[in-house]
Symmetry: C2
Subunit: 96 residues, 2 copies
Amino acid sequence: MLVLITYDVNTETALGKKRLRKVAKLCVNYGQRVQNSVFECVLDAAKCREVKHKLEQIIDKDKDSLRFYYLGNNYKNKVDHIGAKQSFDVEGTLIV
Amino acid sequence: MLVLITYDVNTETALGKKRLRKVAKLCVNYGQRVQNSVFECVLDAAKCREVKHKLEQIIDKDKDSLRFYYLGNNYKNKVDHIGAKQSFDVEGTLIV
């Protein structure tokens, strides 16, 4: 199924910036980065539990936010895109 | 239906920052901001076309990215949240 992972990590501190890098580095192992803080991941239920569990270990639950959207197996017509298609490296820098 | 709107606006220039503010200000009229660049909007097909059209007028399609995810009418079990729940004002500043 397609799982959309979106996150807001509070980067006011150096620790926050570190958490942000860790979140991005982890997500890249599970799917495709489509925007700076948005990953599309095709996962089975076990992998989905795994990534959620790992992300929970990284974030500060008082400061950071993770959301998961389950788009099922027939997701081709459930996504629209307008504008620039960007490729990101794991650090969040735009690859031109 | 629930429509998830996610965006990346390139804010390297003052014009970019202005576009970002405009995108956020528009989206707030259609739904609930759940993360900095993520809105959840309950829309019928006409309203969905309307917000897409208006957003297309605001963004720079060479620099900015918009994505729309259609989660249907039975969306209650399709969303999970972990961590901080934040409220934002239209300018993107965290409201404490």
